[in-house]
């Protein structure tokens, strides 16, 4: 009874209908993920703003996991079922596929067998030499001919059915790769200034994402940024060439990299995703005591305003920056380019929401004075926004991609085709019947057949 139930369950589960339902279900949820803002895709501020605007809606959607749809139990469950279905359907087809690829040593066909093919033609030949000529033309077209008594069977691309196994098998590799990547993946973001050493401790990362509880450790990585040399054309970044020395798992290496060409050490990749200006800000009081003396990373290179606070004080310093300052026709300050040719800082010091002082700094000798303090910028460097990624499983994923493409190519671009021929002597002539069948082809089968028989493969 129980056995029969499981057999029925298995039969239902490996049916194509279930595959189609699962694809439809996953497509629906992917679509929902497109129209419902996803927590993983928005930055926290944007998500909070949306939450504040529609509190009840967001609460409801979050409760049913629709704001993190791709990691919701429903979608993960459906994905697992999809791959399980795929595995079982593929496994079920293996014996039939292998059978269809095998070629017998000889063949036995009658005229009636050939007549059942969707495309066939009868010839009345003077002798059997005509049959041999057609057979050799078929062979020249890449068919392998199996002889029989008064008949032949020719097969081209007999391994095409294996393409289906390769394609569906590749999904399992991709799934395995995806799972490895998900559970081993670490992603951290940090700002590092030229000359600065990054030791890889948790506090040095601005943000850290671990996708799975299984990933516990931080990557063993130390970085010293030697040089960042961004290049802009018409205010468009065309290179963020960076040179670093990195040490990972006892190996030390110096190298250059750029956007689209990460610095890779084992399973760890270092990517540069943006650059900014890190002025060395020095604030001293009347007695020369230093309140601040550090490189401050500011997102101001493209004209945005950024700020920082002076430690142990209530002062906030707002900064505007022009890398290659000029004055436009209206008398407003502007920048000619993003190259650091003529850097100018506009400083506004605020305390409790009120302006305390403002000024312009164009070189190391200039400073802004306010309430007994002096702010100067004796030096400036670039800082980079770096992404550090550590994961395993990429190889499986790529192997899966390659296998999938090989499978699709074998199955569809080189489909299995068969030509069957049978003949007998009648009234001093040879009655020769030849037929063709190709996977997926019905209307084009006749054209293919004519092409093979004429030996004109390039037609």
């Amino acid at each position: 009874m129980v056995n029969a139930f499981f057999k029925e369950l298995y039969r239902t589960f490996v049916s194509r209908k279930v595959t189609i339902y699962l694809i439809a279900f996953l497509s629906l949820f992917y679509f929902l993920g497109l129209i419902i803002p996803q927590r993983s895709l928005l930055d926290p501020g944007q998500f909070a703003a949306w939450q504040a605007q529609w509190p009840l809606l967001v609460e409801t959607l979050t409760a049913v996991k629709l704001t993190s749809i791709y990691s919701s139990p429903l979608v993960i469950g459906a994905t697992v079922l999809f791959f399980l279905n795929l595995l079982l359907v593929t496994a079920k087809r293996v014996p039939a596929v292998f059978r269809s690829m095998q070629l017998p040593g000889s063949t036995d066909l009658s005229m009636k067998n050939v007549e059942t093919l969707p495309v066939h033609e009868k010839f009345m030949l003077d002798d059997a030499a005509g049959v041999a000529a057609v057979r050799s033309r078929i062979q020249r077209s890449g068919f392998r001919v199996i002889e029989g008594r008064g008949c032949f069977r020719a097969v081209r691309n007999r391994f095409a059915p294996a393409g289906s196994l390769l394609f569906h098998g590749s999904f399992l590799l991709i799934l395995l790769g995806g799972m490895f990547l998900f559970h081993t993946r670490f992603r951290g973001e940090t700002f590092i200034t030229e000359g600065q050493l990054f030791n890889g401790s948790r506090s040095e990362y601005r943000s850290v994402t671990r996708y799975s509880e299984m990933r516990k450790s931080l990557p063993d990585l130390r970085i010293t940024v030697e040089k960042i040399a961004p290049r802009f054309e018409k205010r468009e970044p065309v290179s963020l060439a960076t040179r670093i020395t990195a040490q990972s798992n006892g190996v030390r290496r110096t190298g250059a990299f750029d956007v689209n060409a990460p610095f890779v050490m084992g399973t760890t990749s270092v990517l540069i995703t943006d650059v900014g200006i890190a002025p060395y800000v020095r604030v001293v009081d009347r007695r020369g005591r230093e309140l601040l003396g550090a490189f401050v990373s500011l997102n101001v290179i493209r004209g945005d305003e950024d700020h920082f606070t002076i430690p142990d004080t209530d002062y906030t310093v707002w900064v505007k920056f022009w890398p290659d300052a000029a004055v436009d026709e209206a008398g407003n300050r502007t920048t000619r380019s993003y190259d650091l040719k003529h850097p100018v800082y506009e400083i506004a010091v605020r305390k409790g929401g009120s302006d305390v002082a403002s000024g312009t700094i164009t070189d190391a000798a200039r400073s802004v004075l306010f309430e007994g303090l002096q702010l100067s910028i004796p030096e400036m460097r670039y800082f980079g926004r770096f992404m550090i990624v550590d994961e395993r499983g990429g190889g499986l994923l790529i192997a899966g991609f390659i296998l999938a493409l090989a499978g699709l190519t074998i199955k569809f671009l080189f489909p299995k085709q068969e030509v069957l021929g049978a003949w007998h002597e009648a009234d001093g002539k040879t009655a020769f019947l030849v037929g063709y069948q190709g996977e997926y082809l019905r209307g084009l089968g006749k054209q293919e057949f004519d092409r093979i028989l004429s030996g004109d493969e390039d037609l």
């Binding site: 694809i23 993920g33 992603r187 065309v238 750029d258 689209n260 990517l271 991609f401 671009l413 997926y440």
Partner: protein, 279 residues
């Protein structure tokens, strides 16, 4: 956009529109004699668009891959190339040009309205994988467009046949329904394979650029949905034996996935890593 490029561009648009009009007139009024004129006009439009691409490439110093305008230019060029190839190889497929020229014009129009300004190649786009990714994307989309056009022809011819149209009509000159069906399937299959290469190379590029093979970015997700839709079309044909009208309607409907992944996503969502700003 230089004056020469503008001249080539608008000449191409004009000739494509004229060619489309001629094909429509031929089709509706059964004026077969003018089909060579329509094809010649399409060829001339294609030559003009090639000129626009060449000027753009020379002036910008990079292949046309930046922004909707350049992508539209490259995309419609490839769709027209596929159409010309098909019509050259199989003359009875000439009315497939009806759907593909209309889509080419739509792509060019949207591109022109969005961003024809020439921009340097952002560092995010400086990758070998970009060219492979985009090339295969357009191969896929061009194939799907041709399949879509053949699907329309199939539905029209089948409807006419069912209505018992008199012999000698324009539909008689179209290939048989079986041949249309096979060709539609072939283009879907070719599109599906090249689409797979597009997704795979995109994932490899994304790993270098964003540190992750897959980010469930809306464009990525919708490309996957679109690919799965065509996968479904193939599965239904291969496994369940769907052919004919059902498959034709499915192929026509599946183009929506492509249109949404290319333009629709940006209308629906504001955040996509596919905006390609290094910030």
């Amino acid at each position: 956009m230089t004056a020469l490029e503008r001249l080539f561009f608008w000449t191409a648009v004009l000739l494509y529109a004229l060619s489309l009009a001629l094909y429509v007139v031929n089709f509706v009024f059964k004026a077969e004699k003018r089909s060579q004129t329509a094809l010649g006009t399409l060829l001339a439009g294609f030559a003009a668009e090639t000129g626009a691409i060449a000027v753009r490439w020379y002036e910008s110093g990079h292949a046309p891959v930046v922004g909707n305008y350049e992508n539209g230019l490259a995309g419609s060029w490839l769709i027209t190339l596929f159409t010309l190839y098909l019509v050259h190889r199989k003359k009875d497929f000439r009315y497939a040009a009806l759907g593909s020229i209309a889509l080419s014009l739509l792509i060019l129009g949207i591109g022109m309205m969005s961003s024809p300004t020439m921009r340097p190649l952002n560092v995010a786009l400086l990758s070998f994988w970009l060219y492979v990714h985009i090339f295969f994307a357009w191969l896929a989309y061009a194939s799907y467009t041709i399949a879509f056009s053949i699907g329309i022809l199939y539905v029209l011819k089948e409807k006419k046949q069912a209505a018992g149209s008199p012999p000698g009509g324009i539909f008689e000159k179209l290939p048989s329904l079986d041949v249309l069906d096979d060709m539609m399937f072939r283009y879907v299959v070719f599109g599906f394979i090249t689409d797979a290469v597009m997704i795979a190379t995109g994932a490899i590029w994304a790993k270098d650029l964003w540190g992750s093979y897959w980010s469930w970015d809306p464009v990525e997700t919708w490309s996957l949905v679109s690919w799965l839709l065509y996968g479904l079309v193939i599965h239904l044909r291969v496994s369940l034996g769907w052919r004919g009208r059902k498959l034709a309607w499915l192929t026509i409907a599946a183009i929506i996935g492509v249109l949404v992944s290319f333009w629709g996503v940006n209308f629906i969502v504001e955040q996509s890593t596919h905006i390609f700003n290094v910030r």
